[in-house]
Structures are given as C-alpha cells and as structure tokens.
Amino acid sequence: QSALTQPASVSGSPGQSITISCAGSSSDIARYNLVSWHQQHPGKAPKLLIFDVSDLPSGVSNRFSGSKSGNTASLTISGLQAEDEADYYCCSYTGSSPLYVFGTGTKVTVL
C-alpha cells in the first residue's frame, strides 16, 4: 500500500481559499468514508482537523472543510490566515494491511 498522493506545496494570499487534494485508490479513499486531515505546524505534533471525510472536531475553525469524490479527498481552507501556514496530511483507513495510510503531505504557504 503506497502513501496517498498530495501536492508538495500550495500557496495563497490572506483571505483567499485554497484546496489540497489527496489521491488514493479503490482500496482506501474510494471504499471508505474514513478520511481524516491533520495539521502540523513546524516543530509541533500534528493535530486532527477533519475526520470521516468532512466532520470537524470540536474547536476546529469552520474555515476548514473536507470532501471526497471517487478516490480523491480534498481539504479546503477558506479565508486563508497567516496561522494556517503549516504542513497538512490526509489519512485513510484501508481495511487491510496496513490498516491506515497517510498522504505525502502538503506545505501551505500564506503569501
């Protein structure tokens, strides 16, 4: 099972919206609505941002939203802010070995 494919970097200006893609396969993203997104600031541990494709944990800004189409999941950040500059990782349940697979990671830069 290979890592899910994400763009290496995405950038945007403050206030803009950006979307990060996460491409998987029929064995993971397409099969299960069990995609999560995690945000990692430099030198910090990751933090859960989105679970079950589009649900937000308590305390996470509704500027973050998730979706899925076929074998590709997406994370959209609306109203981009300086504090959104971080690395973002998608993760999918696979139902087989390995049970979970992470994406390659995307560095978001706020211009």
Binding site: P46, L48, Y89, Y93, S97, L99, G105
Partner: protein, 120 residues
C-alpha cells in the same frame, strides 16, 4: 484534560535496545486504541501499527512488522514502543496517537512526540 505524555528524547547506538513510553492522562487507556506514527527527519508521517490493551492481536504495518513491538500496561495507563536492535534508519520522531473504538476512526489526540537518534 485529555493528553498523551511521551518520554524524553533518546540517543542510542546501532544495535542497542530501546523502549519509549506514552502515558494516557485524563482517560483510561482501555477505552481507546493506541497507534504509533513515525516521522523521519524532514519527511512525512508513516503509520506503524495499532493496539488495544485488551486485544493480543496487534496490527503492525508491514513496513514495521518484526522491527518494533507495541505493548501496554493498563495498571499505569501507559503504552510502549520497543526496539530490540536499533538501526541508524530508526532515527526520527515517534508519536503515539489515540483512536476511538469505532473501526476506521480517525486519530483524535496526538502525543508531543519522542525524538530518537541512532548514531555510532
């Protein structure tokens, strides 16, 4: 407050053994599953495996099967990751992450990480 408290950074030589710990605070270890995630220097996240204190069947990623051992001590609410013989390629940050019981659920709480350096 729910949190995972991990042991401190380690510096080891190739071939040495190591056990790092992850203490669950604010909840009972048995109420959730625990996974481990590796992040090599400057690289992405890699899922290593997942376990439950009451389930002897630990699910390892094929990439880590036979290289590490996961365990837990319910009496002190602590999970462990163990290496019998470290290699230089084991250098990296190791995170313990909590997962709710529901199959396929997302990892909802991350520990701060334990940095492991393996160098001769």
């Amino acid at each position: 407050e729910v949190q995972l408290v991990q042991s401190g950074a380690e510096v080891k030589k190739p071939g040495e053994s190591l056990k790092i710990s992850c203490k669950a605070s604010g909840y009972s270890l048995s109420d959730y599953w625990m996974a481990w995630v590796r992040q090599m220097p400057g690289k992405g996240l890699e899922w290593m495996g997942i376990m439950h204190p009451d389930d002897p069947n630990i699910r390892y990623s094929p990439s880590f099967e036979g290289l590490v051992t996961m365990a837990a001590d319910r009496s002190i609410n602590t999970a462990y990751l163990h290496w019998g013989g470290l290699r230089a390629s084991d250098t990296g940050m190791y995170y313990c992450v909590r997962r709710p019981h529901r199959t396929g659920a997302a990892f909802d709480v991350w520990g701060p990480g334990t940095w492991v350096t393996v160098s001769s």
